[in-house]
Amino acid sequence: MLCVVLVVAGITMATWTTGVTSRDNVFATGDLDLIIRNEGSWVWDEHVHATWSATNMYPGQDLGMGAVHFINSGSFEGQSFDLAVSNTSTVADMDKFIEITHMQYENGKGHNMLDGHHLHDVNLNGWIDLDDLESQPQLALSAPSTTGALYMRYRFHPDAGNQFQAASVTADFTFTLHQ
């Protein structure tokens, strides 16, 4: 019995081990961090308001140019960029009479969104408008390299009838940057 115990103890004591540690191996994610500002403002945020707005519009009125600017301040570049619009009209179809007369997406290279390859006259009223933009979100545009912008000029179409007096359209523009 004693012999057995001694043998077991001997085996245990004879097996040496040693350990080393590679510490603090950190696997940290980067991020996409898109922020925007209105033209003429220096405040960058995730939300801006009233980039494009007009009061007291009348048929045929040119409502000028407005723009939002983007910065991807994250740690890696985005690969694609989406633009989507949601409209709410107090009188049905009023968004069809907010005509987009110029739309330019800048991401290091200029993209004319009215070049016939991006926005189309889906509602077949003869011009490109907010309703067309709502029904065809602009998906998978090339992402802003670091900075970018969207410029839009618009007018209240001359054919807007009396039913659109004292009415309004509210549009929300959503911009999505993808990895």
């Binding site: 995730e46 494009w52 707005s53 007291n56 009348y58 009023m94 959503t174 999505t176 940057l177 993808h178």
Partner: protein, 178 residues
């Protein structure tokens, strides 16, 4: 179940899992430009001078009636056109041979003292107005808050033979256009 079948199921499950991983690995970030409001104004008008009441008309008698049409101060736009129409109802005496509105002639319509706006200067009887078709009074520019005086001259036909103690009532509508 054979090993091959089990292996196939395992491969499919792994493949589905990889697709799922691929989908969820894509990151995105959203920003919004909200509350872009496109609000229209309106065009409002008022008219002063009516209703007119003419008593004691007689064949050959006439009168000038002035209506002041105003582009309301809070209208969104100036106007570039003015037109008018009317719709009248005869209050006939039973047995009367004709309608009073057939013998009441609009002989002149002027705006702010200008030329007669009747086409060719030709007079029109009140019954010719149907409440729908408008008489063009020309390019009248009124900024919001501005007014124009429209003078309508009405004459009873000198050859009218009946229509004693009758009357015509109705509405005269003016339309301002952007």
């Amino acid at each position: 179940m054979s090993k091959k079948i089990l292996l196939s199921i395992l491969v499919i499950v792994v493949a589905i899992g990889l697709v799922g991983v691929g989908t969820y690995a894509l990151w995105s970030v959203k920003v919004t430009s909200e509350d872009n409001v496109f609000a229209s104004g309106d065009l409002e008008a008022t008219v002063a001078g009516g209703p007119i009441t003419v008593d004691g008309m007689y064949p050959g008698g006439y009168g000038d009636y002035t209506f002041t049409v105003t582009n309301a101060a809070d209208s969104a736009v100036k106007t570039s056109g003015l037109s008018m129409t009317g719709l009248f109802v005869n209050n006939n005496v039973p047995g009367s041979p004709g309608l009073l509105s057939d013998v009441l002639w609009v002989t002149s319509v002027t705006v702010d003292g200008g030329a007669n706006k009747l086409p060719g200067g030709n007079k029109i009887c009140l019954s010719a107005f149907n409440g729908t078709d408008y008489l063009d009074l020309g390019a009248v520019t009124l900024n919001p808050g501005d007014s124009a005086d429209v003078v309508v001259t009405i004459e009873m036909d000198i050859n009218a033979e009946g229509n004693m103690n009758e009357s015509v009532t109705g509405d005269i509508t003016f339309q301002l256009a952007q």
